[in-house]
Point group: C2
Chain length 185, copies 2
């Protein structure tokens, strides 16, 4: 599957929640907290290859994800391989997976902690996941995402950019939250 | 934790089940099937570093394990980092984790499939896990194992070798099942 994604800093004068209410009748979204750790490869420089490896802990779930290089210049679209599992001992599982990566020579590249609010927005016969993100240490961002097959990528990209433009979101941010957090540090 | 482990080919004239019955009153053990895949590291030769990385699927559980180099010449004792989780979709989870490893440049080093029968044997104030293993393509083997802290390693090794000797098991096999399967192929 392909994750077609585009991200924008929320303009200071924009009331995003009010806009979603007025335009789409959406009240509150689904809230979750995500604690992410990113890793560097033992023999490939992910800054050069534009890959990412992440362990995400969110409540009782662990998600382990590899992301391939971004596939175009406008969006954050990239290939993804992922497994996710629930566990009453999510914290111990996160530590266990991290210990395996360390033993294999991976190193920690940094952590990102965020509170997300997720909305499902119907747009051009598709369902866009809109995430209103409060990342620790950064101003608010909004991410628009469609997960689809490679063959649907052009249509998904076009839908995301059209929705963004319609919401008054124009300059997309291609840097990852990790990059933005590390630049601020 | 340290996995102190020693393995023996079951002598052709030995009736292991009868011996466990007579000596320890143990009837049948806990049976399970394990399907293991081993991986090579993208930039370290595990044959040289004597490490192992494995995905194990056993019924509804996935276990992801790194094993460090063997720590002595007599046993298969080694450091271990492991996570295990249950899933109704174990097969899809195995495929997902495998796909992440492939994306990171790991390569498959081979598969081992076995049927194990596990017994708990009390010996010298310790509990030894005895596994009677029928590996596809190999003659029967028996593994004796104690998982313990590093500080208890000497006592655990001594208990395992004494139990083995008492059962008439003398020449330990330090090669892994994967190595034995690949040598046969």
């Amino acid at each position: 599957m392909i994750e077609v994604e585009v991200k924008f800093a929320v303009p200071e004068d924009m009331n995003l929640r009010a806009l979603l209410q007025t335009r789409f009748g959406l009240n509150s979204g689904f809230c979750c907290e995500e604690s992410d750790e990113y890793f560097q490869h033992p023999c490939r420089d992910f800054d050069v290859t534009d890959e990412a490896l992440r362990i995400r802990r969110s409540d009782q779930a662990i998600t382990f994800t590899w992301k391939g290089p971004r596939l175009d210049l406008l969006t954050k679209t990239r290939e993804e391989r992922e497994i996710s599992f629930e566990s009453a001992e999510a914290s111990a599982q996160e530590a266990g997976l991290r210990a395996i990566l360390m033993a294999l020579g991976f190193t920690s590249a940094g952590r990102v902690h965020k509170r997300r609010e997720l909305f499902s927005v119907p747009w051009q016969q598709q369902t866009v996941t809109l995430s209103f993100d409060q990342v620790t240490g950064l101003p608010p961002f909004v991410e628009l995402e469609i997960v689809c097959e490679e063959s649907e990528r052009a249509a998904a990209t076009s839908a995301l950019l059209s929705l963004a433009s319609s919401l008054g979101l124009n300059q997309s941010e291609r840097r990852s939250y990790l990059e933005l957090v590390l630049e601020k540090a």
